[in-house]
């Protein structure tokens, strides 16, 4: 599975596995024939080329369904999780418009969910954005209070892409089912990392993507529950009526084969792999925290993806830290690294303060990381933070006993 830890590391090191993952060679191998000799259109019903493609697609459907505890008839292929989120939310909104116009989501969802909800608000829907607690999880009582007789959909992610916080989806699903509300979950970060079973977790719609689980980009799926309750969607793309009319468009057969294979590997290896990843993650955390003061973990420690570590290094700005560790690929919540020049809305939602958002780094460990890489990263991060703190007026003030949150800053309110 993983490379051996032999002390030597190859640079640069990739530790940004929430953004995307390297494709597993076994996935690539499974996909290759479908680019060339087995090139048929899965919708061609009257010749052997079509049958071969369809057979491959159906096998992939089975592999995906098995991973999330359902049947293959409930899997719809899409171009990725953004499309799956759009189809789930807009498809339900349009289908159940007569029943109600209220949707519930939460503050730290992915933009694919938040911006879809914002668009629906322009079309007469009412959206409740639940806050999160300090650990990044919603309060179930807030959810219960938010549901009213016009609520048709609750959409809450299984695991957050920045802080790795796991939402209590089983309880959320139970509340939804008691109230007769459909429950959609963007599960892209959770699938293949932690157990996710649509039946046990009371999920009605779930978004999945290939490239977060060592599969291909541009291929995803949506689980659509067929009974108790039967969920109906209004298609968002018109055309040939593929995927039981829910998603027209010729199927991306090689991508689908890859997604299926990635799910099969996850199914077989998840238990062992999550232990391996949490071991690496804890080692990284311990090496950093035992060598630096004023370091804070963002998000729940207990309810967390095994491969996620999100840390704020107080008094050091995230982009300058990334510059100092430029042979390591990670992400920062710093405004300077975002297109909008705003610090991470996910970290802001935790109530940690903008200064800690500016100082945050997200480490996303993956299948191909090694202990030697973790050791290298930890040392480099510690050295760079120490160097930048020597440069930091805030660290100097902190050492002089000044509480920087109490200082009246000249530029405050200008940004």
């Amino acid at each position: 599975m993983a490379n051996e830890s032999n002390g030597a590391v190859k640079l640069p090191i990739y530790m940004d596995n929430h953004a995307t993952t390297q494709m597993d060679p076994r996935v690539l191998e499974a996909m290759l024939p479908y680019f060339s000799e087995t090139f048929g259109n899965a919708a061609s019903r009257n010749h052997e080329f079509g049958w071969a493609a369809e057979q491959a697609v159906e096998q992939a459907r089975e592999q995906i369904a098995k991973l999330i505890g359902t049947t293959s008839k409930e899997i719809i292929f899409t171009s990725g999780a953004t499309e799956s989120d759009n189809l789930a939310i807009k498809g339900v909104a349009e289908m159940y418009r007569e029943k109600g116009n209220h949707i519930i989501t939460q503050a730290t969802e992915h933009k694919a969910v938040l911006d879809t909800c914002k668009r629906l608000e322009k079309h007469g829907f009412r959206v409740t954005y639940l806050p999160v607690q300090k650990d990044g999880r919603i309060d179930l009582d807030d959810l219960k209070r938010a549901i009213d007789d016009k609520t048709i959909l609750v959409t809450i992610m299984a695991a957050n892409n920045e802080i790795g916080a796991l939402q209590p989806i089983r309880e959320i699903g139970q509340i939804c089912h008691e109230k007769g509300v459909i429950f959609h979950s963007d599960a892209v970060q959770a699938i293949g990392k932690v157990p996710f079973n649509v039946i046990q977790d009371n999920v009605d719609l779930a978004s999945i993507t290939g490239h977060k689980i060592y599969g291909p980009k541009g291929c995803g799926a949506l689980y659509v529950r067929r009974k108790s309750p039967r969920v109906q969607l209004v298609a968002q793309i018109d055309g040939g009526g593929h995927e039981r009319g829910m998603r027209s468009g010729t199927l991306n057969v090689p991508g689908i084969v890859g997604l299926g294979k990635a799910c099969e590997i996850a199914m077989n290896e998840m238990a062992e792999e999550s232990k391996y990843l949490s071991g690496l993650r804890d080692s990284l955390r311990d090496q950093i925290m035992s060598n630096l003061d004023e370091v804070y973990i963002n998000g729940s420690v207990e309810h967390r993806l095994p491969n996620n570590l999100n840390i704020s290094f107080a008094f050091v700005e995230g982009e300058s830290l990334l510059m100092g560790i430029n042979d390591i690929a990670v992400s920062s919540g710093s405004a300077c690294t975002s297109a909008t020049l705003e610090p991470s809305y996910v970290l802001k939602a935790l109530g940690a303060g903008d200064d800690l958002a500016h100082s945050s780094i997200r480490f996303g460990l993956g299948r191909f990381n090694t202990q030697a890489e973790v050791d290298y990263v930890a040392k480099k991060v510690v050295d760079t933070v120490k160097r930048l703190r020597e440069l930091s007026p805030l660290y100097e003030m902190h050492k002089e006993g000044i509480d920087i949150t109490k200082v009246q800053w000249a530029a405050e309110g200008q940004h």
């Binding site: 982009e319 510059m323 100092g324 710093s334 200064d355 405050e412």
Partner: protein
């Protein structure tokens, strides 16, 4: 984002890092920016009371690489200048020297603000003494 060689050089080998005695009558201290905005610069100058020449300058910066480079460059430029000459340094000069992209212009503005704040603090001390 790609950084210019000069930004990388200042980031890797920042000039004049440190602190001067802020209680000294010859020292002016400028502290600009705010942690919430992701940038705080502290720039200090030590002025010869006779010649009004800035004999020493030090900085510390919390901010991105461009902010660190802008303040590092500012300390290099003010050293050896008189107070009045230092006030003529413009943020656009810093942008040009470091080849800062448009999204990083605010770093150069902050560095100019820091120079002005340090000189302002020094001038206030001279008035208070007089």
């Amino acid at each position: 984002m790609a950084y210019s060689d000069k930004v990388l050089d200042h980031y890797t080998n920042p000039r004049n890092v440190g602190s001067l005695d802020k209680a000294s009558a010859e020292v002016g201290t400028g502290l600009v920016g705010a942690p919430e905005c992701g940038d705080v610069m502290k720039l200090q100058i030590k002025v010869n009371p006779e010649t009004k020449i800035i004999e020493d300058a030090k900085f510390k910066t919390f901010g991105c690489g461009s902010a660190i480079a802008s303040s590092s460059l500012a300390t290099e430029w003010v050293k050896g200048k008189t107070v009045d000459e230092a006030l003529e340094i413009k943020n656009t000069d810093i942008v040009k020297e470091l080849s800062l992209p448009p999204v990083k212009i605010h770093c150069s503005v902050l560095a100019e603000d820091a120079i002005r704040a340090a000189i302002g603090d020094w001038k206030k001390k001279q008035q208070d003494e007089a």
